[in-house]
């Protein structure tokens, strides 16, 4: 069995599962945020109206709640949602509610790894499509809607069809100025935005062994954009070192069997990879940066669970150091802890000195909700994960998805720019 099959078998109390089996799986961890949370509460309320009474939820210690999409409260409706969420977590004794303005908070997926809320071998579900991110820790990690999350909160389990696994072997040493974002964009361009529908995308190979956790998380984060049920990387020494800095909780890692079967096996020679972008209006509309060299843009955005982890900010800042941006540039770190560390390392000063605006952690700008919404015909180069029509604002705005290094390079010139051309 693959790692995904083994985790799902263990959580379904079965000795073996094969792709296509439908299992009701025990859940180890569950997450909801200020968009899925109010939906969950509505499901509970509707059942209470029908006379059902929920004195408690399945296990408040396995639940965590974030405020990330519309925070700091974007308007009155957002504020009411956050108040309702706070009342609900208090009522059910959920201790892990990460509130903005009250210490650590940030984007749900970022907190999942920053706070080591999910551990290798676990089954984790979240009320957000990019829950796939956390699979980089070696967990089965999948996104669900709010009815399914409500069901998990009542019953501690949910159904899954055991997915087939597509294996991506990443070979060779990652060249300078290439990031995991370039790798995953290239892969999505090849397999298509429905190329991994209902399947697992697993990453392995010598490149993975050299990638730090922040980079691995970019790969699994964007498996969602290929339609994957989950993305996963087998836990190793890098995973363990990352987690040991954050938690003492023991965990029980799972790795795949040597005779595991994959539906497809792809091999990528990463040392030959070029800086890559996804053009509007699809993450699969991929092109080498060089082919778009000179495309004029209006705004550069460094933010989101995909592109505002500490390593993302570090590498973007390295390029911007001592220089001035030529277009509007916005930086929103993905979590408070990352923001603090970025200040400590001088990264935030680098951004500010370059002329960028640096703001609080939020999903806001990535999903066109608030805090940097694009206007009609505005063109943005962004470290985020999605560029469908209207994703970051007006339906006629355009987003190019790129790595933090490419976004930083483009911020300096006002055009889509290959970072290698700036330094040579």
């Amino acid at each position: 069995m693959t790692i995904t099959e083994k985790i799902l078998a263990r959580a379904s109390y079965k000795p073996k599962v094969v792709p296509g089996d439908v299992v009701f799986t025990r859940i180890d961890k569950v997450m909801m945020h200020d968009v899925s949370g109010p939906g969950v509460i509505k499901v509970f309320n509707e059942w209470e109206k029908k006379g059902k009474r929920f004195e408690r939820i399945w296990d408040p210690d396995r639940v965590w709640v974030t405020e990330d999409h519309f925070v700091p409260a974007a308007d009155i409706v957002s504020s009411q949602n956050i108040i309702a969420l706070s009342n609900w977590t208090k009522r059910y004794g959920i201790k892990r509610h990460y509130k903005y303005g009250l210490g650590q908070y940030g984007i749900c997926h970022t907190l999942s790894h920053e706070e080591a809320l999910v551990l290798p071998g676990e089954v984790y579900v979240g009320g957000d499509s990019h829950t796939n991110t956390t699979g980089a820790l070696g967990a089965f990690s999948a996104g669900l809607g709010h009815t399914d999350i409500a069901y998990v909160l009542m019953n501690g389990k949910i159904w899954f069809k055991v997915p087939e696994t597509m294996m991506f072997n990443l070979m060779g040493t990652k060249p300078d100025y290439i990031m995991a974002k370039d790798i995953i964009l290239k892969i999505i361009g090849d397999v298509g935005t429905d190329g991994a529908n209902y399947k697992t995308m697993q990453f392995s190979g010598e490149t993975i062994k050299q990638l730090g956790m922040d980079e691995r998380l970019t790969l699994t984060n964007m498996t969602t954009e290929a339609g994957a049920k989950n993305g996963i990387i087998e836990p190793d020494i890098i995973t363990d070192a990352y987690l040991r800095k954050r938690t003492n909780t023991p965990y029980f890692p799972v790795i795949g069997d040597p005779d595991a079967r994959f539906s497809e096996v792809y091999t990528y020679e990463i040392d030959k990879l070029e800086p890559t972008v996804a053009k509007p209006f699809s993450p699969g509309n991929v092109s080498a940066v060089r082919e778009l060299q000179g495309t004029e843009i209006d705004k550069a955005y460094i933010g989101s669970c995909t592109g505002a982890k500490l390593q993302d900010l570090r590498l973007a800042a390295k390029l911007l150091k001592g220089k001035k941006v030529k277009i509007r540039t916005e930086v929103l770190p993905a979590a408070q802890s990352i923001y603090i560390e970025a200040i400590r390392e001088g990264i935030v000063n680098t951004f500010l000195d370059a002329g960028a605006v640096v703001g609080p952690p939020t999903c806001g700008a990535c999903c066109g909700a608030h805090m940097g919404v694009l206007g009609k015909s505005e063109i943005c180069v962004s470290t985020t994960n999605r560029n469908f029509p209207g994703r970051m604002g007006h339906v006629e705005s355009q987003t190019y998805l790129a790595s933090p290094i490419v976004v930083a390079a483009s911020a300096l010139t006002g055009k889509i720019t290959d970072p290698r051309d700036l330094v040579n």
Binding site: H69, A74, T131, L144, G145, Y151, D194, H370, R386
Partner: protein, 164 residues
């Protein structure tokens, strides 16, 4: 859940109609289902909520509902009136949200079937027989049967009503 449904088709041929188009990000803070329905498909066709009557169907290209996990997407479509969507394929979270929430039926059909059905055709969907009858054109097509568990959840009217 009725096993035979009859309604008018609204056809959007495009593949990869994503959740940002079905219900744009700024509306995610809204949880009133009727209010969400007013913005269904706003990113593609702002007139959509005015064109649709209760019990109508959507016929569309592959990978419908890709993108975010927002349950707002099937909710907005369902409350606008759409009770079934015919497509060659669906994105996974949209599919399970539609079924588990009991909002509407995601029905997989062949590409050729999508081509044969036109906008405004009157269609009858029979989920017991796995048949689609095009009353306007006097044609019949097959639908891919629901997998066993999905059929049971559909019959129960959503996951919450389903007894494991």
């Amino acid at each position: 859940m009725m096993t035979v449904m009859r309604g008018i088709v609204h056809k959007y041929k495009r593949a990869n109609i994503d959740t940002d188009v079905i219900i744009p990000g700024p509306y995610l803070k809204i949880h009133d289902h009727k209010e969400l329905a007013k913005h269904a498909m706003e990113g593609l066709d702002p007139q959509f909520p005015f064109k649709v009557a209760q019990g109508d169907f959507l016929v569309t290209g592959s990978n419908f509902g890709c993108g975010s996990s927002r349950e707002h997407a099937p909710i907005a479509l369902s409350h606008a009136g759409i009770k079934a969507i015919l497509s060659p394929s669906f994105a996974r979270i949209f599919y399970r949200n539609a079924v588990d929430g009991g909002y509407l039926l995601p029905i997989e059909v062949e590409e050729a079937t999508v081509d044969k059905i036109s906008d405004k055709d009157e269609v009858e969907i029979d989920i017991k027989q796995n048949k689609i009858n095009n009353l306007t054109r006097n044609e019949s097509y097959t639908m891919k049967p629901f997998p066993e568990l999905i059929a049971k959840i559909v019959e129960a009217g959503g996951l919450m009503n389903y007894k494991v």
